[in-house]
Amino acid sequence: MRAAVIVFPGSNCDRDLATAFAKAGCDVQMVWHKDTDLPEHVDIVGIPGGFSFGDYLRCGAIAANSPICQSLKRHVDRGGYALGICNGFQVLTETRLLPGALMRNAGLKFVCKTAPLRVETSDSVFTRGYNAGEVVGIPIAHHDGNYTADADVLAQLKDEDRIAFTYTDNPNGSAGNIAGILSANRRVLGMMPHPERAAEIGHGGTDGARLFAHLAEALAQA
């Protein structure tokens, strides 16, 4: 399986994400935001956490308009896979590849801790290694993770089983306790928590490792 990780100025989880992909057996290439094309035959694009472009204007807004994101859109339109974590989730909503938006945390504070998440669906390449209803511990570290969308979108996400993860103890005010959502074709996942920060024993938890291992296994067969 071939993965590409996009690097924006201000990304700071790009190498962590690349390491998690590599540990799961992927060939990983880093891609600079000014590049106009993804490497050939990439199966999945990782959009990492961090503070792309200093979070100026809105989190992810400037990154979403960078040259590489045009290529990301083409990749997703072709049915390619993408995983956006934290700032990467914000970029995916700003590109409109995922619905809704991420606003300032309701408590206004930056929240940094391990959050218990409920896996809402195991029906995706990202969550197939978990049981629906299972609670896992994945670190969060964000100031703008308050997911919002209009009532129709929220109902649609629920009806189509596209809510991947919810918080068991909502840390940021997000609608429906949403921590991560899937695209309509279930091939794009955006989530605020950081599975790549719970991917090795040294991280203090390994609940995120399953996401990468089962993703790599599924895409190797695809």
Binding site: L57, A61, T93, M103, L108, N146, T148, G173
Partner: protein, 76 residues
């Protein structure tokens, strides 16, 4: 020419920062502040003759996230 773009959260979208400002005003003894909404003002220095349509396109593509925000354009 200049344009000024006001970006505000849409009505109905809870504004946590505005709420915090409202609480702070109350703590300072300013009574009767029923609500505070916080937004952005973006000033653009533009080539003469730039159309409002162009500024609108800037808002739609970048300056506002129309999922949660609305915008008003003032040309001067």
């Amino acid at each position: 020419m200049k344009a000024r773009v006001h970006v505000m959260l849409k009505n109905g979208v809870l504004d946590p920062q505005g709420e915090a400002v409202r609480h702070a005003l109350g703590a300072l003894g300013f009574d009767g502040v029923a609500g505070v909404r916080q937004g952005k003002v973006i000033e653009l220095d533009l080539a003469d003759g730039t159309s409002e349509e162009t500024v609108k396109a800037m808002c739609e593509k970048l300056l506002a996230n129309t999922v949660i925000e609305r915008y008003d354009i003032e040309l001067a």
